[in-house]
Every structure is written in C-alpha cells, then in structure tokens.
Subunit: 398 residues, 2 copies
DNA sequence: TTCAATTTGTTCGTATGTATC
DNA sequence: GGATACATACGAACAAATTGA
C-alpha cells in the first residue's frame, strides 16, 4: 500500500466505529448511505461496503434492504449469544438442583440458555471458570461464591466482567468486599435465630451449635444463634459450639458430637448448619444411645429432600429453592436490560420455620404446652419474627 | 435474480462445502485458486471471493496470502466454542443432577462447558430446544429423549445436526428409529429381570408390576419382568400389571394399588418402575393396612436417595448415576474427535441388584433359606445374571 | 540471489436487481 | 411511479506474499 498506515476500508471502519462510540451516531439512527460515504471519503462504494461488512459482523451496525444502514442498539452491540453462565459450588448435592431449576425456568422463558459450571467449592477452580467464561460469549453471570468467607483474591476477574459490561448476580452469599454488588440471598441471621428460639421455646437450655466456618451462611446462622441465646439471657458456652470446614465436613460434626456426649455435657438441643449435618448428627446421637427427639432435639436448615424424607423428619428452615434461582435470574435479566438504575439490586429472602419430628418440648415443659400431641405427623409452618429487628410477626410462635 | 433458485455466490459456497464434506478436498489440501473457480463456474472472481469469504467465516477453509486457499482440518472446522449442549427431561428431580454431575466432570476435564436445557419431558419443548441449540455454537449434544416411546416427529432436527456435523449421544433411552445412533443406557431388560427374579427367589408368586408406559425404560423393565415370570413358569396375569403415563404418574400407581388391595387380589410382591413409585406404593399399602415387607415385598429401581433414606430402605437396582453421565460425555468426546470410526458407539451398562429392607422371604420359604436373619441392616449387592442371555454370574444369587 | 509465475488481498468502476418510502 | 438505498454481479487493475526456476 502506498499509504504507509492502513487499508482504506479498515480506516473507514475505524472512523465509523469511533463516531458510533462517541455518540455521533445514536443507537437506531441511520448512518450515511453507502454512496454518501463513498463521496465523503473519496473512495469507491465497494470499499465502503467492505468497511460496513466489518462493522456489521462486529455488531455495531445493521443494514436494512432499501432503507439504509443503522447504528445498533447498545444491547445488541457485540453479544447476542443469549447465554448466561451459572457457576455453582456443587451441582448434584442437596438443594442446588432446585436452585438451578428455578434459574433455568426464568431464563428459558426469556429465551436465554444456561452455561453451567461447578467449582467444587474451590477458589482455584472458581478462578479458572471465570477465565474460561470470559473467553466465551456470555451476557451475564449468576455465581454462588466458593468458600465465601475467605478473602477473594481474584477481584481482577470481576473487574474484567465489569469492563466487558457483563452483569453478575451473587446468590447464597458473597465476598465481603462485594457487599454492594447485586445479590440474592436468604436472611441466614434470622434463620439461625428462628431455630434457636424454637428450641428455647421448647424448654431447652443447653443448645449445641454446629456451623460451617468458611462461608457467609455459617457465620450468619451462628450470629442468629447467639442473638437468640442472648435474648433469652442464656450464657454463651463456647464448648457447645463446633465449627467445621469444607475439608472436614464429613468427620468433624460426627467426632464433635461423640466427644460432647462422651464428656457427659448436658446438651438437650442441637442447632445444625444444615439438614445434611442434622442427619449425620442424629445418626451419631443414636449410635451413642440417645433418642431424638425424646432425649435431645435437633434442627436442620434448608428444608431439603432429607428433611422431608429422613426417618425422623427434620424441623428445619425453609429454603426458597427454586424461588431463589428465579429471583436471581429475574434480577440478572433486569441488569442486562439496563433497567436496574433505580431498581432493587439486592434481595434478602425471609426464612420460614418448619416444625416436624426432630424437636420436642422437654418433659418439664410439656405440661405447660397444652393442645399438642406427641404423635403429630402433619407439619406446622411459622413465619416468625425476631423482635430485635422489628419484623412483623406471622404465626403464633415467638 | 433472474435465476429463480439461488444466488451465485451461495450456490458456489454450498457446492464447495459439499465437496469438502464428501472428502473430495481433504483437510489441509489446497482447493482450486480463485481464478480457476471463476473459470470453472463461469462467474467472476469477485463472486468466487464472496463465496470463499462465507466458507472462511464458517471455518471450512482458510486462505494464505500468495499460497492459495486450503481445506480446514476437521478439528478447526466451524466451531471452537467448546460448548456441549445437555438436554434432560428434568433438572432437579431424582437422579438427573448426578448424571449431569458426571457429564460435567468429564467435559470440564477436557476444557468443555455445558449448555443446559430441560424439556419437562415434553416433545414440543424438546423440539424448541433443538432449534434454539442449532442457532448456537455447540460442538456436540447429549440428550435424554422425552417420552422416548412415542414416535419421534422431529427427525428433521436430528438430520440438521448431522448436516452440521454436530455429533450427539442419547442417554437413558432413544427413539425406536434411532436405535443405531450413539447411545449410553442401562440394560433395563436385565434390571427388570433381576428384581422380579429376586422376588421369585424369595418365594413370591403373585407379583404386581407397575411400569411407565411412555418411555423405553418402562417397556424394557416390563420385558424383563415378563421374562423372569416365564422362566419361572408362572402365568402372566395382566390384571397385576399397571401402566402409567407422565401425566398420571402421581395418581395412577396409588389408585391401582388401592384397587388391587380392595379386590383382595393375592399380590405378595410389587415390582415398581422406580424408587419414587415404590415409595408411593409402600405408603399406599400401609394406608391399606398391609405391612412391608412382612405382608408384601416391594422393589424400587435406580438406587436413588430415597432407596437409602426412606423409612423402609428399598431393595432396588443400582443406577450408574455419575457413571452414566461420564460414559456419555466420554463417548461424545470420541465422536467429536473423530475417533469413533471403529470405536464403540453404544454402551449398555449392567444393572446391579441391591437388597435392603423392602423385600423379605415368604414365611413358607424362610425355613429353606438358612443363615439369614430378618434383622439384617447391612445391604447386600449382587450382580446377578440372566441365564437367558448367558451372562456370567457374580454373587450367590440366581 | 534474482526473477517470473502464481495466488490472494485491495481498490475502483459499472450495471442490474430489489426493497422501501 | 420515481427516488433512494442496499444486494448482487462482472470486469479490471494493482499490491503483496509465496514458490520455484
């Protein structure tokens, strides 16, 4: 080329792109016709077409036969993959399938598809997933952070998402330094309060707490546990509180329960991190010769399949399951469509106490509670409220 | 266009594409130069270039300045999206999460991602999914057909997949007219045989069968049930066989059991389509005053969470769960990499009988079976074999 | 190393078809 | 119907890269 710098068509393409990005041509507006551009830039119409071809493929403009060439809407610019990435800690365990189900339902209704990733709750894998997804054509991201209580080292990856204009929504929990980002989660503080308060109301005084140390949920549920004890004027006994991690989640709760039973600690109730933990705890207690709920009450959390179908049906906290996924998907769609300027960006879902068979009033209290038989099989639900936060009450408990 | 059919450049593009797919031009081979093509097809070089531009963008060819235009390697052809579509009937129910987990594990290891779709077991939704996926950039497809026993009307969609060179693998079942396509499934015939044979070995003679009518699994399990009865020389009693459909899956098994109990039919065993059905059947039987397994034995199928954790642990058939997904994913990767010419294209996984608490020998038989206590809680596993197919035997049953 | 032939890449000019207003 | 604008097509020329004599 005589022109030392650049080819004519790509020079034109660059100039037009710049004008579009600078707002000289507004989205939806008609840009000059091929012949006009050819005259303006003193090049052939064929060359103009080649430049416009580039811009069309890159999504900056679109042509309509007989009408003209138009500047694309911001939304269409670049991506129209209609793919949303969903990054979860686990796929098959427990409650996640139903959350994914909820996400899928809303996204499918809106013509989007899910690209599914799982991190096995590993920070390293999560980073690798995000890098991989940045290479792909995604319009948004729903992510359940792994080990959400540990400091997030890969904030740069989220910055890249921001730079690329890819909105994201956290579910379940979120990194401390991302607290202002869009997210959907349960009020785990309230949930922890509710189960503990329930045990207190049944007359229990020495309540064990078993929590997961490396995520927000565990910390929040523990806070609720503490608040309920404080409210009841009961001394917080660190010896009755067990913290476990992802790595020792299989062994720690079991060994801790055994130890406490062996030491003849006077526990008459156990608040568990979730239903899975509760099931393990109950099995362990029974192996140690204790009966649930006769000798000791145990609560779960999440109202998972286990809670309803385990031999001893679990008193637990209802997890929104599908609803959580649906809400997160709807929020993300709002963000994608740019309707989030003044809309809600954070949703906290209210927990609900479900009373089943794993908890029972202490013998000394039974006389006081009238009208309740031990043989109740039908479950009872309460949306109770914590007086400390001033929520309105539903149900007759609390 | 005067030419009623097609534009010249897209006609040339199609012809070249066909020659490439037919192997006239081998991967890496040089195709005729632009001038040669222009002369051959009696069109201008410009038009040839437009056609080649299309093929380049679709990944069929690549040009090298001064050297020529070359046929792409198979691997590079078209896609490098690294996306695999996974179409399931249900996402959150039952065993599917674990199958997806297995698929995800293998695909992630190989740098692929899952695009997840669910059909709610509806044929219409399945067609819509496939159309949507054809628009996207997918390198392969794993699909669990919905209502697999009903004739497949949308074979054209699968033809399109073939045309685009997108390989697909069926899991669980497959349409009758697609029997020669790559697939991974359980030997449901053998599974049905094993549970029925188990009940017969326990001394049961009047065995109900409850099967799903609108999928391959149900039909095959029924065939196994029939084979076991025949082998034992027992008359096939149609009154003891119940067929239900997706639509009435919640009500039909329950009402059928009630009816049979009400008519005082002499059933002493029930072969159920799956664990979920078995759980419902057991609950219904107990409501009707029968004890399981004392009065009547019930078998499940799939070895799902229910089987292990229901109040009465279910005798069932082990479902490969993750393994099924892993196998399907591995097969699909082979197909994508073109290593399937002489490799296995169909995998049938062997079922395994797991004996738990929902089946027990009839009183009259108990004396004959020595060394077995009624109180056994530890489960026993058998890979039994059907003499009719000549499989080798494992375990001590059969 | 040079040079000519081949091949793709860029650009211009022109003509015609067809959709929109 | 006429003007405008994009879509298809042909012909020609030159530039730049590669290859092999």
């Amino acid at each position: 080329m005589k022109n030392g710098e650049q080819l004519k068509y790509s020079r034109l393409a660059d100039e037009l792109k710049k004008k579009i990005l600078d707002g000289v041509y507004r989205p939806g507006e008609k840009i000059p016709s091929e012949n006009e551009l050819a005259a303006d830039y003193q090049i052939s119409r064929h060359t103009v077409r080649k430049a416009l071809d580039l811009l069309t493929r890159e999504g900056y403009v679109y042509a309509e036969h007989g009408r003209g060439t138009f500047c694309s809407e911001l939304a269409h610019r670049g991506k129209d993959s209609r793919n949303i990435a969903v990054v979860m800690t686990y796929l098959s365990d427990y409650i996640f399938p139903r959350v994914i189900q909820g996400i899928d339902q809303v996204l499918t209704e809106n013509g989007y598809s899910i690209i599914l990733k799982n991190t096995s709750n590993s920070r390293t894998v999560e980073a690798r997933c995000l890098e991989e997804l940045l290479q792909k054509d995604i319009e948004g991201l729903i992510i359940e952070p792994s080990k959400s209580d540990i400091f997030c080292k890969h904030g740069t990856l989220y910055e890249k998402l921001d730079q690329n204009g890819i909105p994201y929504v956290f579910i379940q929990g979120c990194f401390a330094q991302m607290e202002d980002k869009p997210q959907v989660r349960m009020d785990d503080y309230m949930g922890g309060y509710l189960v503990t308060r329930h045990l207190l109301d049944l007359g229990h005084q020495n309540i064990m707490g078993i929590f997961k140390a490396d995520d927000t949920q565990g910390r929040e549920r523990h806070r609720g546990y503490v608040a309920a004890l404080q409210e009841a004027g009961i001394f917080y006994n660190p010896e009755l509180v067990v913290w476990f991690h992802t790595e020792d989640r299989a062994s720690k709760p079991v060994s801790a329960v055994r130890e406490i039973v062996a030491r003849r600690k006077l526990a008459d109730g156990v608040v568990c991190y979730n239903d899975l933990t509760a099931m393990k705890v109950i099995k362990t207690l029974e192996e140690e010769g204790l009966r649930v709920p006769d000798d000791i009450s145990v609560t779960g959390y999440d109202n998972s399949f286990i809670a309803e179908n385990f031999r001893i049906k679990l008193t637990t906290i209802a997890h929104p399951h599908e609803k959580l996924g649906e809400t997160a998907a709807a929020l993300l769609l709002d963000l994608i469509r740019g309707q989030s300027e003044n809309a809600v960006r954070q949703v906290v879902m209210e927990p609900e106490l479900i009373i089943r068979e794993s908890t029972r009033a202490k013998e000394t209290e039974k006389k006081l509670l009238s009208g309740q038989t031990d043989e109740q099989t039908s479950e009872r639900r309460y949306e109770a409220a914590c007086p400390m936060t001033g929520w309105k009450q539903k149900g007759d408990l609390c």
